[in-house]
Every structure is written in C-alpha cells, then in structure tokens.
C-alpha cells in the first residue's frame, strides 16, 4: 500500500515539475528533498528534475543541485545533460556562481567527466577570487576519490595552491594535501613559515587540519627538544665521529641543544589558539605541544584542556581519554587540577570510568589519602558498575604506592561484608591480585575469605578464592581441605571457571596434603572426567596424568609439584592507557586504541636535523626585502591594503586589472585577498594605537663588541639589540649578549657585578655556572637607559676576574615602533610643533631614493614603525621612547633631484637631533 502511495506521489511530483509555474516546480522540489531526507528513492524523477538545472530561481536551482549530486552516480547518462550548464557557469563574472558551479560539477561522481573536472580545477586554482580557489582545493579531493590515477596532476595543483597567501585557501588546500599526498613533505618546506604566520587568521576548521599536518612535518624536520632523546642522538654522533680526533668528539657531545627558529615559530604561533572557542582547535594545539614542545613547556596546555571538560559530554569523553594518556607520563601536569576529575553522580558511565582512570594515574604518596577518601564515597555509589571499577582503582593504587598497600587491603577486606554482590566479587578479585604481589603472611585474610565463601555467588569471585586457597594451601592447612570437601558436594552445580579452579585446588592439595585429600581429589577428578565442558574434561585428564603416578605418566610426574606450585609472578595492575601514546594524541586512532584507516604515523625525531635552508623562501618580490623577514612582508602587505582601501572607489576595478597584469609577471602576490592579523588590527581607530607595538625587525642586526677576548682573558662578549619588547620590564631596552670562551679552560660563574651610575637599573642574566672552552651562550638582559644615550657601565665577572664593560646605545635603539594611521600621525605631528620639531634638508644617495630603500635605511638606524602613506613622496615612521613612552615621529618629504626634507617631531629634543644626524648619515651614504 505504502509503495503504491509513493508511486502515485512521484507521478504527482513529475506533473508539478513539468508545469510551467515556477512556484509549483519549487514546491515539487521541496517535497522531493523531503523524500531524499527520509531516505526514500526518488531517482526516477531524474529526467524531470535535471531540466530545471538552469532555472533562474536560486532556491529551485539549489534544490536541483542537491538532487543532482544525490542521484548523478545512479543516472550517469542523464547527468551528463547538466554538465554544459556548469561549464558555462564556470566562466560567470560572479565569483560565487563560479564557485558553486565547480562545487556541484566536482560532486557529480561520474567518471566520464574526469577530464572536464580536471580542467575546471586547474582553471579555478588560478582564479582571482580566493573563494573560487578554496572551492578548487575541495574539488581536488573529490576528483581524487573518483579517479586516483589523476594523482600526479592533482599534486601539481596542490603545489600551486599551497603557495597561495589567502587564509581562505590555506585550510582547504592542506586538507587536500593530507588526502592526496600526505607523504610529499617536500611540498611543505617553502610554505612552512607562511602557514605558521597565517595560522591565527585561518578559519577554525582549517586550523585543526594545518596544525595536525605541521605536527607531523615538525617531527621529520627538527631535532628533539627532549633531553633523554638527545642523549641517544649524542651517541649516534659519537659513533659517526669515532675515527676523528678525541678533541672533536668531546666537542660535539658538549654542544648545547639550540632549537631551530622554525620550530620555535610553530610553537609560538599556535599558542594563542589555546584560547579558541573551538574545542577541536584547542585539542590540536595541545597535541602539538605534547609531541613537539620541550618538556617544561607542555604544561601550558593543561588549563585549556581542563577548561574543555566543562563542554559537552562527548567533548569531555575525548579530552579525558587524552588526559588519561598524558597523565601516565606526566603526573605533574594535571595534579594541581586533581579536583576537576572528581566524579559527579550526574556523569555518564564512560566519563566516570575515565575520571577514575585519571585519578588513579595521578595518585602519589602525597595525595593518596585524599584520593582514597574520595574513592570511599565512590564505592558507596548507587551505580554498582562504577563502584566495582573504583575497587579495581583502589587495587591499582595499592600496588603502585607501597605505603598504602596495607590500608587498601584492610579497606577491601571490610568491603567483603558489603551487601552488594558485585562489590564483594570485585573486592575478592582485587584482593587476590594484591595478595599475589604481597609475599608476606596473609593467612588471616585468606581465612576470612574462606569463611565468606558460602555466601558469595559470583563465579569470578568464587574462582578467585579457590585459587588463593590452593596457591597458599600450606598457610591454611586446616581450612583448605574443608573447602575442597564443600566443593566436591556442589561441583556439578558450579560455573565452568569455578570447576576449573576446583580441579586446580584439588591437585595442589593432593600434592601437599595427600593424606587428607586423596579420596576427595579422586572424586572430583572423576566428576570432571564426565563433565559436559570439554575444557574441564581436558584439564581433568591432564591433572590426573600429572599428579597420580602410573606407568604411562612418565617423567613429568616428578615435576608435578614444581609445575603446579611454582612461584607465580604477580599480575601487573596497570592502566589501560599505558601504550596509547603510540598514537598521535587527539586522533581517532588514539580514541579507539587501534589504527584507523588512513592514520598517518608520527615519525621519531631525526637524530640529525635535515637541511634547514629548504624552508628559506627565494625573493620573488621586486621589493628586495630580506627573504627571512616574513613579518616585514606582512607589514608591507598591510600598508598596501590600507592604501587600496583608503583610496578612491574607482580604483577597485582598476586594481583588478592591475592584479591580472601583476599575476602574469608573478611579482606581487594578490594582496587584497590576504586578511592578515595586521589587516584586521589596522582598522582599530585612533584611541588605541598607543599600546600596540609591532615587533618588526628589519635589515641586518648590528653586533657590537662588549669585551675582546684578549682583554677578557679568554672571555669574549658581543651584544646586539634584538628590538623586542623587554620581557622583564617595559621601560627597559632588550639587549642580547653572546658570551664565548676562547680560552683553553672552562670559565665559571659568569655574572654581572657593580654598575655605574649606581642608580642604573639592569635586569641581569642568571649567573652562568660554567662555560666550556670553544662554547658560547646567548643571554638576554634588560637595561633602562632612561631615554639617554649615556653608556651603561657595569662589570662582567667570572669566578676569578672582573672586567669593566659598557654598552653605549645608538639613539635609534631607545625606541619602540608604534603603528598608527596616517591621519593620526598628522594629528600628533600637529601637536608637536615649534620647539619639538627638528628638521634638515638632505641630499640623498640616488640608490636610496625609492620609498622602500628609505624605509630600509631608516629602520636600520632606528627601531620605528612604518606608517602607511597615501602620498608617494612622503615616508613616515612612528615610534615611542622605551623608557618614558614619548612619541617620536619621523617624516621624510622627497623633493626634486634627490633632496628631501627630513623632519623629526618629539618632545625629547636632544634625542631628536641625534636621531636626525643618524638618519641623515644613513640616507646620504650608499
């Protein structure tokens, strides 16, 4: 009846679709989608539906797409009718129409159109719209699953899209990479830094995919930051250099671990994502830190993971599983949050079990009493399965922490008189395991259990007691035969495991106390011989041959006692999460504790790091900025986009054209499409600029000598200004000092001594206990120069000597860049007129005339930020003095024939004149 109904229904719908009224067609499509949703077969309407694929009505069209994608696989020939519509739409001027055409086209799983799809993907990958490029990245995976033979061609497209600088594309293309060619790690090298820098701005789902891929990447490219593994690699090195001289060998071993800056970049750029609202992102950062960070840094993820425990039940489940694995290796990470793992009666059972697991992992001598008190309430829980799990947990605590073994054992014995059978049974089983690990006298407990034996009905518990009595029968010589007597009576009514243990008990008693138990044993063996279960019959036959001497039994008989009553190793009570760390955390495989399809193994750290330079990006841009300065690049981008947005409306169509042109020459990436963090931030209005500090560092860093090794008796020191905000105190200038030992003996206790003027505030580095010959170490310190170029004099001391040294800062190093908009710059400049303005006309070296060259020169002298400018003949820079935060504005107006007007506005007039001199010097010389 229902089937007929459906048929007539479908006929109706067909009529509606063939009507000329748009609204009827739409209504019909809505009903058809309803059928699809219910899982009903509506494939016979295919011809009627596909006709509407080019409809003008957007909703109708979308619903037709839904239908088409669902049934095209079954109706391949008819599906081909729609292809030309999509091919046309792929050329549409509207990017959304292009994207949706590609989306549907690539979702039609019809092998015959593979070449068409391939072509469409290639074209879309070069589209101007990042949205279309994103869609093409998705299409790559679809085509790959339809026809794996296209792999090589698809990899080419992936390679191209990986270079894309749009945050919209990054996540999708990495996803395609993971599906199509996860082993082609070489494709990542050149894009590694870019991906790290884009990460914060990629949409959340893309972040998860990229982080997981970068985790794998990092494990193949960097050396281990973990000490113990380094020892191993040290050995490898030693073997490698064995033929070399003694001296060199020693040298290699002493070489301190220095983290690859790219490794650090990844860790630094993922850290803010711990604050994401997306639990998957937080988990992926946590696993990244677990697998890549130095041990002492991993704990920064703890708080965020604990936060996830407040999320939905399913999230809790996965997070708890991962914490369980982590807490085995690193108790300390989660111990401060122990109470977050206390079980609530409202938790689901699997959540309770996981929490119990974690609490057991966290137990140590210090907290065991708290944990046991908590466990006591769990044992009284109304959820009996959970109570039983708690008893097992107590057992594990008792074996792991010897101080509490006796307490636990006593507690468990008390539980034997509990009214609930599952509780009693579980206690018996756990006590059995505990007694095995405790070779000391415990006959009292065994006696107690023998007494309870009659009341216990759970087979596992009965079997355990029988085994215990058998194993320690010599300790309870009176009770054991009596128990055997009782068992002989009830043998036939027992469960199989109980029968097996009865046979075991009989055999052991026969060997130790044959006088009393010979007849009983024979009786039981006879019962066993005719048992229904073949295991029991086999066991009985085996035992009889083993213990009862006869002509046939041969040599084994002599060893019966040694076989049956051999001292047995105690069972190890360990966590079920013990070996889970073989899987990458956060993965499905980790969750299931078995390898899932498509799981990518995390490789071990390489002993020797592969070539780092593979990640260096060649200079493609005409700008000529240093290739390593990703930050400078993004800085430029932001200034550019600022320009285009503040520019007049008519320029937008122009810039499209311009972009097309540029794309051909491959000189400038599509800047408009790259929403970096800086982009987003530059839109903040004036009120807040004062506190934003950009940390760009341009040009080569100048290094100055602090102490020559001749004067320093082997100790040499150099310093430079890293131009980072000082961590210790914001009013200090950060200085990095490289200390090296060029003497032939090690230098001890290197530290900073007296300073002058005495009021000089310096944040010293920690005393270096020992510096080996030929070794060098970089330390950072902070100095508050109080916005003056007066030298900071202090003494650099070793254990034996003191050397007076001084750091004389260039005025430009006393500044911090400050970013602001052009308008704000002009406004502030207006406030700093008259006395606060210093200016000079300079004649520049012709090579310096371009605005990029000016920026480079000015930034090499002073730590200021570039202010994006809408006028070509103006270059503006803004900064603040580190100590007092006074504004320093530098502007340069280009005049004809390479002369320029250099103006500095600041209330610090002394600094202004010094800065003017420095900048002038930089710009006038080549």
């Amino acid at each position: 009846g229902q089937h007929l109904n459906l048929i007539s229904h479908l006929r109706n719908l067909k009529e509606m679709l063939e009507s000329s009224k748009e609204s009827l067609k739409l209504e019909a499509m809505k009903r058809i989608v309803g059928l699809i949703a219910k899982g009903k077969n509506a494939s016979e309407l295919f011809p009627a539906v596909v006709k509407n694929v080019a409809s003008k009505n957007i909703e109708l069209k979308k619903l037709v797409y839904v239908y088409l994608v669902r049934y095209a696989e079954e109706q391949q020939d008819l599906a081909l009718l729609s292809i030309s519509t999509f091919q046309r739409a792929l050329k549409d001027p509207n990017q959304f129409i292009r994207a949706s055409a590609l989306r549907v086209l690539s979702s039609i799983r019809v092998p015959i159109i593979v070449p068409i799809m391939m072509l469409a993907i290639k074209e879309a990958a070069a589209d101007l719209s990042p949205y279309v490029r994103k869609t093409s990245a998705h299409a790559i995976q679809k085509l790959f699953s339809l026809d794996a033979d296209q792999k090589e061609q698809l990899i080419e497209v992936i390679e191209k899209l990986l270079k894309d600088k749009s945050t919209l594309v990054a996540g999708s293309v990495v996803m395609a990479f993971e599906e199509v060619c996860p082993d082609r790690i070489d494709l990542i090298h050149k894009n590694y830094r870019k991906l790290c820098n884009l990460l914060v701005d990629v949409e959340e789902w893309g972040q998860v995919v990229i982080i997981s891929m970068l985790t794998r990447y990092a494990r193949t490219q960097f050396t281990s930051p973990w000490k113990e593994v380094r020892g191993q690699s040290g050995e490898v090195m030693k073997a490698f250099y064995e033929s070399d001289s003694e001296e060199k060998k020693g040298h290699t071993e002493e070489k301190p671990y220095i983290m690859d800056p790219d490794h650090r970049l990844l860790l630094r750029n993922t850290k803010p994502l711990l604050q994401s609202r997306n639990t998957a992102v937080v988990m992926s950062v946590a696993q990244l830190y677990w697998h890549l960070a130095p041990k002492h840094e991993v704990s920064i993820v703890t708080k965020s993971l604990v936060r996830l425990l407040r999320s939905h039940r399913e999230v809790q489940y996965i997070v708890l599983q991962n914490i369980a694995t982590m807490s085995i290796q690193r108790k300390g990470m989660f111990e401060p949050f122990m109470k977050s793992f206390y079980v609530r009666s409202t938790d689901a059972t699997h959540i309770k079990t996981l929490k119990l697991e974690i609490l057991t992992n966290l137990a140590n001598e210090a907290n065991i009493s708290t944990i046991l008190r908590e466990f006591q309430t769990y044992v009284k829980s109304q959820d009996k399965a959970f109570a039983a799990a708690t008893i097992q947990a107590i057992g594990r605590c008792a074996t792991n922490i010897s101080e509490v073994t006796d307490t636990c054992l006593n507690g468990l014995v008390l539980l034997l008189s509990n009214r609930d059978e599952t509780v009693v049974a579980e206690s018996v089983v756990v006590i059995k395991k505990l007694l095995q690990t405790q070779p000391t006298q415990h006959s009292e407990i065994i006696k107690h259990m023998a007494k309870l034996f009659d009341n216990i009905t759970v087979p596992m518990a009965r079997a355990s007691i029988l085994w215990l009595i058998g194993e320690y029968c010599e300790r309870v010589p009176k009770i054991a035969p009596d128990v055997l007597r009782k068992m002989a009576k009830s043998f036939t009514a027992e469960e199989d495991i109980v029968k097996l243990q009865t046979v075991n008990l009989a055999a052991k008693l026969y060997l130790t106390n044959s006088k009393q138990t010979k007849l009983l044993t024979q009786y039981i063996l006879n019962l066993g011989k005719y048992d229904q279960n073949y295991d029991i019959r086999d066991r009985t036959r085996f035992i009889r041959q083993l213990i009862v001497p006869s002509e046939k039994s041969g040599a084994l008989n002599k060893y019966a006692r040694r076989i049956l009553l051999a001292p047995k190793p105690a069972p190890v009570l360990e966590s079920s999460f013990k070996d889970r760390d073989r899987f990458q955390l956060g993965t499905l495989s980790h969750s299931l504790n078995s390898k899932a399809t498509g799981y990518q193994e995390l490789s071990d750290w390489p002993a020797v790091a592969p070539d780092q330079s593979v990640r260096n990006v060649e200079i493609i841009e005409a700008s000529g900025s240093d290739s390593e300065e990703e930050s400078s690049e993004s800085e430029k981008t932001s200034s550019d986009s600022g320009k285009s947005s503040s520019g007049s409306e008519q320029s937008s169509s122009e810039s499209e054209l311009e972009q097309k042109k540029k794309k051909k020459t491959k000189k400038v990436p599509q800047k408009k499409s790259k929403p970096t963090a800086a982009d987003r931030y530059s839109e903040i209005p004036a009120v807040c600029w004062s506190l934003r500090v950009t940390t760009s560092s341009f040009g080569p860093v100048k290094t100055y000598e602090l102490l020559h090794h001749m004067t320093g008796k082997g100790l040499a020191a150099k310093y430079h200004f890293p131009r980072q905000p000082c961590l210790y105190q914001p009013s200090m200038v950060a200085v990095q000092v490289i200390l090296s030992n060029s003497s032939d003996h090690s230098l001890e206790e290197i530290h900073i001594g007296d300073r002058s003027p005495a009021s000089l505030s310096i944040h010293c580095f920690n005393t270096i206990e020992r510096l080996e010959p030929e070794a060098s170490v970089t330390v950072s310190m902070g100095i508050d120069f109080s916005d003056s170029t007066q030298a900071a004099n202090f003494q650099l001391c070793t254990k034996e000597d003191q050397f007076s040294v001084s750091i004389q800062p260039a005025v430009g190093e006393l500044l911090m860049p400050s970013s602001m908009t052009e308008q704000d710059f002009c406004k502030e400049q207006g406030k700093l007129q008259g006395m606060n303005e210093t200016s000079a006309t300079i004649t520049m070296e012709t090579a310096n005339a371009s605005s990029q060259a000016i920026s480079k020169q000015v930034l090499s002298v002073a730590n200021v930020g570039v202010v994006s400018s809408s006028q070509n003949n103006f270059s503006r820079f803004a900064g603040r003095t580190v100590s007092s935060g006074a504004l320093v504005l530098v502007s340069l107006e280009l005049k004809e024939s390479s002369t320029a007007l250099l103006t500095i506005n600041t209330e610090k007039t002394v600094m202004a004149s010094m800065l003017l001199r420095d900048i002038k010097q930089a710009l006038t010389q080549a």
Partner: protein, 425 residues
C-alpha cells in the same frame, strides 16, 4: 571527512539522512542501535563506535542522536564540535531543536547542511553567513512564501565570507541601535555530607545580542579582569589586545553570539549561595525511615535565590515517601526513585523544609549507599565571582547606541551535595 549524517530519535528511528559523498546505506546505523540497546541510559552510548568499514561519531542533544559516518582518520573532536555547531544552528533557526521542528523544516535543514559542509569539510559554519545564504523561517515569511511562491534562499550572495571580518554580514541597518550583554555565571560544586565544599568552580560566559548599524568597533573593559583565569573567545576578539591590556576589542557579529567564556580560578574561594541540611534515618526493625531536609541562603549579597529545585535519587529500597513541604511542591517516582522538590524562592525569614517519612520494602535491608542531592537555583543581578563590566565604547560609527548589561548566577550542570544515611540500631 564527514561522509554522512543520520538523525536518530530516542526510539531508534532514523528520521533524516544526508550524504556528502557517495551514499552510505543506513544499515550502518545497526551498529549504533546495538550500542544504544546495550546502554543503560541514553547518555551512555559511546561517542565513538568502530564498525568494519566506517566509524560512527555521535552526539546526543535534545534527545536526538546526531550520528556522523566517518571513513578514515579524523580528529574525533573535529566531528563532535561540528555536530554541536549543527545543533546550535538548528536551534538558532527554529527556536527549538526537536524532531518535529526538523521534520517541519526539512528543506531549510537540507539547505543548511549543504552549505555547512562541502565534501565533508566544513565550509560555512558562522551563523551570520548562513543567515545571509538561507533566511531563517518565520511565520510571516512562511505564509508569504506559500502565497507568492518566493523563496527563503537569500538573493544576495554572502559578502561576509570574503571580507576581513567573515563573522559579520555587511550592510547591517537598525533604527534602534542596541547592544546587550549578559554575564551568566554557573557554579559547579561537590559538597560533602557535612556541608563543606570539596570542589567548586565558576564558569562564566558573556552572551551578547548586538544590533548595531554598519561596522561598529567595540571595546569592553572590566573592573577586575584579573579574576578571569582562563578564557576562550569568539574569533572576533583581538587576542593581542587582550594579552596586552585585558580589554576585549572586537567588531561584533550581527545578532546573538557568545563573546567570551571564562573560568574563574579555582584558587579563589567559591561561596555556594545555598546550603542544605539533611537528616535521613532508618531504625533497625522498622520499615519506616525519617526524612528531613532544610534549605537556606548563604552569601547572596542581599539578592534573592530563585527557581530553586532540589532533586535526589533515593536508595533502591525505598518504596514510597510521604513528605510535607513547607513551600512548593514535590514529586516522588516510585519506579525510578527520583525525588524532586520544586522550592521556588527562598525566603530567609522562613526557611523552606521538606519533612516526613519514607517506607521501605518489607524485609529489605537498610540502604547502605549514600545518595546525592542536586541543587539548582538562580540569582538575578549578581555575578558570584564579583566580575564587573567597567565600560563599553564604540568606535567607527557616529550614532549613540543603547548599551545594556545584565548579571546572573545559577547552578551549573551539577551542584551536588553528598548525603549520609544514618542507620540506627
């Protein structure tokens, strides 16, 4: 990544299926039903279930299982988070997320699911973008649509997806510009039988409803931002600004969104605003037990404790309870043994109490398990952590918006007091 999605109701019927790649037969759900049968409670179905060819990852919300079918390795949280996002979207669109609502709006549901995933990878999950693509159904629009045959698919294409602020739709216009912020704090606690706190923590959120024209740029600052121990943000919040100054600076999405969730450091002492005194006794040789419960307010800064609801699972041996509440109503279900008492508002002058007797099954042994009481409550106009919003400023737009803030404290998933049953000789 996500291959297919099946929606399963409490009685184990699949009422909706959607496939993003080849069709996976619904028989794959048999493995799920097996697990569902084994589970004693609906919550006990494991979230990840392996089958021979697929993996099933499911979430349970509003008594509906959302079962995703996965074919290969994927972070399980990725799928779980996405499924929850789907539920949130449905709730946002239809007001409720029930089987009936989903069935009534099956076309919108399908259109949404189509936009949210492409080939199993999330595409558009921001509510603002989705609402530009597919308009949420309203009664008026449904009527208009049926009469005129117009559509609920947006005619305009979403520009937000391309912009620097993908979470905000463009061209927002309001005649009344308003921004409301709700600071809601939830307490979760375990209290031992003597009434002292074993563990307690405060989890807070700031939910916003922002209806502002254009592209407003907001900053929100707190009187005491140090209280916030651990935070997670909506992607619109500028993280660096928070790190440097502890100020929330953001261009808000249009409409409702969760701006911030935070955790108040567990080092700070958390005062539970309600206390419970209990006295449950069973006497040897009698099948009657005494039950006595009194509630009272504690440290509420003069604010009233409202919507108080107390529930407890009594021991299995209890046959029935004959109790007398001083206020409100109570129910006792003899089958599930669930006692719940809807107290209402606590009047500090006259503390609410629930007293009476319980009868035990004849011959049943005295209960030796200790039940727990779950307490729920609400306190208006107070954030228990003491968090206070200092000011809200708007930049980038000229008009003066109306700004509102509301505080509330309530019990979280569980404020549990462990009880103790006294068995007298």
């Amino acid at each position: 990544m996500i291959h297919s999605l099946f929606l399963v109701n409490a009685s184990g019927d699949i009422f909706l299926e959607k496939h993003w790649k080849s069709v996976v037969s619904r028989s794959v759900c048999d493995y799920f039903f097996e697990a569902q049968e084994r589970a004693t409670e609906p919550e006990n179905v494991p979230p990840v279930i392996p089958t021979p060819h697929h993996y099933l990852i499911s979430v349970l919300r509003h008594r509906i299982y959302f079962v995703a079918v996965i074919q290969s390795e994927v972070p399980p949280l990725f799928v779980i988070e996405f499924l929850h996002r789907v539920v949130d979207t449905f709730q946002d669109y239809f007001g409720v997320c029930t089987e009936a609502a989903i069935k009534d709006n099956v076309v919108v549901v399908y259109e949404l699911l189509e936009e949210m995933l492409d080939n199993g990878f999330p595409l558009a999950t921001e509510s603002n973008i989705l609402k530009e693509l597919i308009k949420p159904p309203t009664i008026l629009r449904t009527m208009v649509n049926t009469i005129t045959g117009s559509t609920n698919v947006g005619e305009q294409l979403p520009t937000g997806q391309l912009s620097v602020v993908p979470w905000r739709r463009t061209g927002v216009k309001y005649t009344n510009n308003e921004a409301y912020f709700d600071v809601v704090e939830e307490i979760d606690a375990i209290i031992d039988k003597s009434g002292s706190t074993i563990t307690a923590e405060i989890q807070g959120v700031i939910d916003a409803c922002v209806k502002l024209t254009g592209m407003p740029d907001l900053t929100l600052s707190f009187m005491n931002p140090r209280l916030l121990d651990d935070v997670s943000f909506h992607p619109c919040v500028r993280f660096k600004r928070w790190e440097a100054e502890r100020i929330l600076s953001f261009i808000p999405p249009d409409g409702n969104f969760r701006l911030l969730s935070y955790h108040v450091s567990s080092q700070n002492l958390v005062a539970i605003p309600v206390y419970v005194k209990h006295n449950i006794t069973f006497r040897e040789g009698s099948s009657q037990g005494r039950f006595d419960l009194t509630l009272g307010p504690k440290q509420t800064m003069g604010k009233a404790v409202e919507s108080v609801l107390v529930s407890s699972q009594l021991p299995r041996g209890v046959l029935n309870a004959n109790l007398n509440p001083s206020q409100g109503t109570y129910t006792f279900d003899p089958v599930t043994k669930l006692l719940s008492w809807d107290v209402g508002k606590i009047n500090p002058q006259k503390l609410p109490s629930l007293k009476g007797t319980m009868s035990l099954q004849a011959g049943a042994s005295k209960p030796d398990e200790n039940p727990t009481i779950n307490i729920q409550f609400k306190i208006q106009q107070m954030a228990i952590s003491g968090l206070k919003v200092n000011r809200l400023d708007m930049y980038g737009e000229k008009y003066k918006p109306f700004k509102g803030i509301k505080y509330m404290t309530k019990a979280g998933k569980s404020v549990l007091q462990r009880m103790h049953i006294v068995n007298c000789k």
